[in-house]
């Protein structure tokens, strides 16, 4: 099993935007609420690939995860995609505990999330 997993490629057709989590290291209700505005603004004009760096997160709450999934819906309903990347034990643990690891993937880094690496392992 390969250790690098690259995302399906959308970059040829969609612009790419990076969004930053608010500082503080917590992925909770307040954090995802603060993200709504920037994410909505990013997809206002059409399909966009939105990348979210979660490597700085050291605390996750269910509201944080639920909010992220709802933001995923917001972005996808415009034809784009929202992807998270970064090595955060807290986020990984939360996804596993909530059985979301087969639902959404946390990519290793920015490039994998963009789908730039050619090898796609299954």
């Amino acid at each position: 099993m390969a250790t690098i997993v690259s995302a399906p490629d959308l970059t040829l057709t969609h612009p790419v935007t990076s969004i930053d989590l608010p500082t503080g290291g917590r992925l909770d209700a307040a954090a995802v609420l603060a993200l709504r505005g920037p994410v909505a603004a990013a997809v206002a004009d059409g399909p966009v690939l939105v990348l979210l760096d979660v490597s700085g997160v050291d605390g996750v709450s269910p509201s944080g995860v639920a909010g992220l999934l709802d933001l995923l819906r917001v972005v996808r309903s415009r034809g784009g995609d929202l992807r998270f990347f970064g090595a955060s034990a807290a986020v990984r643990h939360a996804f596993t505990a909530l059985r979301l690891d087969t639902v959404a993937r946390i990519y290793g880094g920015h490039d994998e999330a963009r789908g730039l690496l050619a090898t796609r392992a299954s």
Partner: protein
């Protein structure tokens, strides 16, 4: 309940159940009139059911106790207070919202307006209350009534705790201070307080003051760790609700996608066969799309990540639709139709639920009584609940029988929906006691069928002489009376301090048409897929709500009982029926009539009149009225503008997000976490 009273109640409970078992055992083993089985068996079944309800009631009372006072509310908790409304009068909603705003513990107040009324929005901004409505993502999607309203607002707020108040439930200023202390315990998911109605006269003709439920019964359930959430006058922990929504989401995600992929494949196959006839040049597009769906199904079987499966499917569809250099372009309407079809499939399949307005539904949206289902699943996850027995909120009860019946019908139907779809005996994670507590409330609605039997059996004997049981009258009394007396004693003792015990018993029997309708409705919704509309209970008296026509079945039953009694007496006097049996049956008829009379009295009720006083402080009422008239004024002057929103805000402030129209003034925590449109 004090410990000596509890001991007495427990003793009586054991005695009543014991007598009941003896009685039912005796009935089944020798008194069933098998020759008249078609009435004898339903009767003994109805009696067995009543014994079952007695057992469940006894169990509920077993642990009924008053909790120790809550610890004082800790500082620093962030609380969002939601006042939910759909079509209630604006003035009424504002009074509740202003009273909520004025609660002493720091919090943010929001009006959740499902009716999207501009005058309410303006009025709310005048008094510094936030206003949330459904945004454009809800258009064309199922709205899920109040559950959807609250879920929508949950994703636009961030307080640790959420208080929910119906539009007519006016809280006292100390409401939050009295209940927040319970959340010190990490396992508490919600705290429920009583519903108390100020517009109900002492004799309560409609049986709406539920002092037995918001008293010994909830305390009893609380004792077993199963206190219900009742939709209003409660505070809930956000993380508990979100965890519940996420659990449901991840559990259903794979199943939904499998079904959606299969449905998508059929749709595309249908499309392909249509195109073969109408537009063969478009077939390659559909074939490519179909192949993509098959690939997606293969990825699904191999356990690939669901978001990636959808991404690839989307990319494959885009590639299929891309114009080919070597072929002629497709005619526009065909291309448009193909695009629509493929978009439709993608929406269905996407794990992020792009076919819905929200990905995660914290409050249960599968039934019209969302509160009970949500509470049950929270309990199943291991969360605990608290019933705080102190009236802290004052609300409005229906003032006419039509409204009262439709409200009861909604609660009953929703409960039966949960009973049939999500039976407490089957839900994993509940303790046995919790299962029985939920079952107790749900099965109480089956009493409608028992009431039918209790009404028809005496009529049958009095008119045609068929007695549904073979027993010596003395022996019957010997078995029945102890059971009956013990039950009444248990009821009176456990319910002491609650008014309306007799009224409650009357309503439980007299509303049998409502309970039967609810059971059938709930069953058809679950087993036949019939949709049940959520009817909001009107908070203003309906002129057409009074009158016997609302209780026609009960009127007919009363008439039939009276006529049958006359016939029965005549038969007895003519020597065709035995006197003791007739007297026994007539006594039964008297009890039935006494119970039914509650429905007839309810039908005549025209409102409390002057006997009740509105407890809303005059200052609040005045402020509400002022804000309403401001709202109406600005609404009139902005009629040409559609929504008066743009003229009130500087155009550069217009939020991209049309859901939160404005945040509450002076939120206790920093703007970046409360106001979603701040940078």
């Amino acid at each position: 309940m004090g410990s000596s009273r509890l001991a007495a109640v427990r003793l009586l409970a054991v005695v009543a159940v014991a007598f009941g078992l003896v009685y039912i055992g005796w009935r089944w083993t020798g008194t069933v009139a098998w020759d008249a089985w078609w009435i004898a068996v339903p009767l003994v079944l109805a009696e067995t059911y009543s014994l079952g309800e007695t057992v469940l009631y006894a169990l509920t009372m077993w642990n009924a106790r008053r909790r120790a006072p809550a610890p004082p509310a800790p500082e620093g908790l962030s609380v969002d207070v939601f006042v939910t409304t759909y079509n209630e009068p604006v003035d009424l909603v504002l009074r509740t919202a202003i009273a909520a705003r004025d609660m002493t513990y720091p919090h943010a107040t929001w009006i959740l307006d499902d009716g999207n009324r501009a005058e309410l929005e303006v009025a709310a901004s005048r008094v510094g209350i936030g206003y949330i409505t459904r945004g454009p993502e809800w258009e064309g999607r199922p709205r899920f009534a109040k559950a959807g309203n609250v879920n929508n607002a949950l994703f636009r707020t961030s307080g640790d705790l959420v208080a929910i108040l119906d539009a007519d439930q006016v809280p006292e200023p100390r409401f939050l201070d009295r209940v927040l202390g319970y959340f010190d315990d990490e396992e508490v998911a919600f705290v429920q307080t009583p519903q108390h109605f100020w517009n109900v006269p002492p004799n309560d003709p409609l049986g709406t003051q539920a002092e037995l439920f918001y008293g010994p019964i909830q305390q009893g359930k609380d004792g077993w760790g199963a206190a219900f959430f009742c939709g209003s006058n409660a505070v809930l922990r956000r993380e508990a609700l979100m965890a519940l929504g996420l659990t449901r989401f991840s559990r259903d995600a794979r199943g939904s996608m499998r079904a959606a992929l299969r449905a998508g494949r059929s749709r595309l196959q249908d499309l392909l066969s249509q195109l073969a006839v109408r537009e063969p040049t478009a077939m390659p597009v559909a074939e490519q799309a179909l192949a993509a769906v098959r690939r997606a199904e293969g990825q699904f079987r191999r356990g690939d990540v669901l978001t990636e499966i959808t991404s690839e499917l989307r990319a494959a569809f885009a590639a299929a639709l891309a114009p080919r250099p070597e072929a002629a372009p497709l005619p526009e309407e065909v291309a448009g139709e193909l695009l629509e079809e493929l978009d439709g499939v993608l929406e269905l399949v996407d794990v992020a639920r792009t076919d819905q307005a929200l990905t995660i539904n914290p409050l249960d949206t599968t039934t019209i009584t969302e509160d009970m289902a949500t509470a049950m699943h929270l309990h199943a996850m291991g969360w605990t609940s608290v019933y705080h027995h102190e009236v802290l909120v004052h609300g409005l009860a229906p003032e006419d029988v039509g409204t009262a019946l439709s409200q009861r019908l909604r609660w009953a139907t929703g409960s039966m929906q949960v009973f049939f779809r999500d039976n407490p005996l089957m839900v994993r994670g509940l303790t046995l006691a919790q299962r029985l507590m939920y079952l107790g409330t749900m099965t109480s609605y089956l009493s409608g069928f028992a009431a039918l039997v209790y009404l028809s059996a005496p009529v049958l004997f009095l008119t045609v002489g068929i007695f549904p049981l073979h027993a010596d009258p003395t022996l019957f009394f010997l078995h029945f009376i102890p059971f009956f007396v013990a039950c009444q004693l248990l009821f009176q003792l456990s319910g002491r301090g609650s008014r309306g015990l007799w009224r409650g018993q009357q309503m439980s029997f007299a509303l049998f048409p409502t309970w039967i309708a609810a059971t059938l409705s709930g069953a058809s919704a679950v087993f036949l897929g019939k949709h049940i509309a959520f009817s909001v209970t009107s908070k203003t008296k309906q002129a057409t709500g009074t009158g016997y026509r609302h209780v026609l079945p009960q009127v007919v039953a009363t008439a039939v009982l009276l006529v049958a009694s006359a016939i029965g007496v005549a038969r007895m006097l003519a020597g065709e029926a035995s006197a003791p049996a007739t007297y026994l049956t007539l006594a039964w008829v008297v009890v039935d009539l006494a119970l039914l009379s509650a429905a007839l009295r309810a039908a005549r009720y025209t409102g409390p009149g002057d006997s009740v006083v509105d407890p809303t402080p005059p200052s609040v009422a005045l402020l509400a009225a002022q804000a309403v008239s401001d709202g109406l004024d600005s609404n009139d002057s902005n009629d040409s503008n559609g929504a008066g929103l743009t003229s009130l805000l500087d155009p550069t402030d217009l939020p991209l997000d049309l859901t939160v129209r404005h945040a509450p003034r002076s939120s206790p925590w920093p703007p970046s976490s409360a106001h979603p449109t701040s940078p």
